[in-house]
């Protein structure tokens, strides 16, 4: 039995099963069980890769190395905890009359397929298939964003589809140009889009073609990452879709898109040897951080605010990978991990808070600590963690990014510090009255599953205090893969 087969086949099978039974009473449990199986398989895969090194599976179709196996595990883990969270959450939504049996089937089935498509995107060796899987992952979530059929959710889903569709079309053009360059360097056919082949002969690729290809790939996959100015779909899709989807969009899909960009950057770096891709990523990343921080301070909807915070953090990661070098790459990978953990934890807490208040407007959510202390503490600690307060992992990665920036690009540090400061003031100021203060909120009908919140925050705390040696080695290896 091949672990990769299990990793990829489980969510696809789950998608089929849940399309049939997704409205049953036990569908939530089945969803969680499929996700747990995926997680177990990906841990197994990780053990094999850590023991034997990079792995080529089924001819050359799939390729597992330290860089993507780390994201596979993260994706499977957050996928599993989100399925735990969604069980009571969606049950409450159903009781509120927002979810019909048909919509429950759609939600569960698409949730599994979405996870499956992300895992395919992460493990495939073929850059064309990577594109196909990214697009498929978007398609699975479009109907989930509009699942409540409100005017706002339809608008959000339409924007999500059209903007991401246009964006990803740019990425396809970039991929075609890449193929054109590869055809000349290593000959056409099936092998010319395989990443392992391209990486071996990246210095042979034509620099002119590659720089144009990278511009298109950066804009295309950058749309998915949420880089300013092509970020408009992101806050809407996060705010209007069901909260479990916001959590996985923020925590996972953005990471997968950034991963695709990184794979392309390695090739462009090799061909160009003038650091242009890195400088472009620094530019886009910095603009994203600053713009997102200022938009963030003007939000009234809690999910929108944290969506902008995701844009800000994705910008910071893009900036870090743009700087390059072992420390910045290490910091970028660490930031990917802790951001995925903390942001999904925040969305879990926010989801239940919004269900209690019956509204996502921040002025309607008050005094969470009184009604449901765990939700309140989850939101408070999560916000502190995402703002980069010391004991949590976000602090460690942001500190590394900032110190590297001071050395490599000192002009950028004031902008970063101002943006982080603005984001801090905005989020902290808004979260405080939501957590403390008087309230008239009522408890929820079903006990919320808040274990995932504290598991995620606990892991983020651990990564801030102590990165275990094997994990550190793993990050270092992965950082090396992207040219550290």
């Amino acid at each position: 039995m091949d672990p990769l087969l299990l990793v990829l086949a489980t969510p696809l099978l789950g998608g089929v099963l849940l399309a049939l039974w997704g409205d049953r009473e036990r569908a939530g449990e089945l969803n969680a069980a499929m996700s747990l199986l995926t997680l177990a398989a990906s841990v197994w895969l990780t053990v094999i890769v850590v023991r034997d090194g990079p792995l080529m599976v089924w001819g050359e179709w799939f390729f597992v190395d330290p860089l993507n196996v780390f994201l596979v595990t993260l994706t499977a883990f957050v996928g599993f905890t989100t399925s735990l969270f969604s069980r009571p959450y969606m049950r409450i939504e159903r009781d509120h009359g927002k979810m019909t049996p048909g919509r429950m089937r759609l939600f569960h089935s698409m949730y599994q397929l979405f996870n499956g498509m992300m895992l395919v995107a992460l493990t495939t060796n073929n850059l064309g298939i990577l594109w196909v899987a990214m697009e498929a992952a978007t398609l699975t979530t479009v109907l989930l964003v509009s699942v409540y059929r409100t005017a706002a959710s339809l608008e959000a889903a339409w924007k999500y589809f059209i903007l991401c569709g246009v964006g990803i079309a740019q990425a396809l053009f970039g991929t075609i140009l890449l193929y054109l360059a590869a055809e000349r360097a290593i000959g056409g056919g099936e092998g010319a889009l395989l990443w392992t082949h391209l990486a071996q002969s990246k210095h042979l690729l034509d620099p002119g073609t590659l720089s144009l290809a990278f511009v298109f790939l950066l804009l295309g996959y950058g749309t998915k990452v949420g880089l300013v100015p092509v970020h408009n779909w992101l806050p809407d899709a996060h705010a209007e879709g069901p909260t479990p989807i916001s959590a996985v969009l923020s925590g996972l899909l953005l990471n997968v898109a950034l991963y695709a960009l990184l794979r392309c950057k390695v090739l462009a770096d090799g061909a160009l040897a003038n650091g242009l891709p890195g400088r472009m990523m620094i530019g886009f990343g910095l603009v994203t951080v600053v713009v997102a921080a200022f938009f963030l301070s003007r939000q009234r909807d809690v999910k929108r605010m944290f969506a902008y915070s995701s844009i800000e953090h994705m910008g910071l990661m893009t900036f870090a990978f743009g700087l390059g070098g072992p420390i910045a790459n290490f910091a970028g990978l660490l930031h990917m991990t802790v951001h995925a953990l903390v942001k999904s934890a925040i969305f879990f807490a926010v989801g239940h808070a919004a269900q209690k208040a019956g509204s996502q407007a921040m002025e309607d959510i008050r005094g969470l600590l009184k009604v449901n202390p765990t939700v309140g503490w989850g939101l408070m600690l999560g916000s502190l963690a995402i703002l980069g307060m010391p004991p949590f992992g976000v602090f460690a990665s942001e500190f590394l990014v900032l110190t590297t920036a001071m050395r490599e690009a000192p002009w950028a540090t004031p902008f970063l510090l101002v943006a982080l400061g603005v984001a801090f003031a905005a989020i902290f100021g808004r979260v405080q009255p939501m957590v403390f203060g008087e309230t008239s909120l009522r408890p929820l009908a079903h006990p919320p599953a808040l274990l995932p919140v504290f598991v995620h925050l606990g892991l983020a705390l651990m990564l801030g205090l102590y990165v275990p040696p094997y994990l550190e080695g793993w990050y270092r290896q992965a950082a090396q893969m992207i040219g550290g």
Binding site: N126, E135, L143, L172, A239, R298
Partner: protein
Amino acid sequence: MNTLLSQSINLFAVVLLVLAFAMIAQRRILTLIHLFTLQGAALAAATLIVGYLTGQHHLYFSAVLTFVLKVILIPILLHRVIRRLNVRWDVETLFNIPTTMLIGIVLVIFAFNLAAPIAGLSTSIARGTLGIALACVLLSFLMMIVRAKAVPQVIGFLSMENGLFFAATAATSGMPMIVELGIAFDVLVGILILGVFMFQIREQFDSLDIRHLEKLKED
């Protein structure tokens, strides 16, 4: 014979470009779908000829795929959608068609300039048409920006996909088969989802005007 055929690739490329311009200016939804169907047919024919001239047999398959998808399946779906939504005879009011056309011409010049150095590197027989392919992509992009109704926006999106397919055929000898199949699958699923979507939008707003979808603004 062969020079005639390789000339005809250029001919079909020009047909694609002219159709892209025609779509920008076309106000009737029904005619727009006819134009899109024609564009698909031109794309399939161009792919077929490139396949014949280069002896790349997988391009035949790709041409058949394009024909089935873009000339048969998607137009049928679009016709059904507009019939059931009762927008078959809709005429959209477009402002400033001449200005839009001028912007389109600027885009074409820009695309040719961008593509010229790269097309020089390509060994494909149709490399001269890479500029046209990029121009088609940008023109469809323009069409999506200026249109306010859902169906024309979707057709713009699909026509952009046509431009991309043509770029893949023109610059390279077609993407690997598995990738092309994957892209075709994504397009088909995408159009099905959009069909579902248009009914949802219609149900919610009693209209397919995208201007209703501009409420989520930053305040």
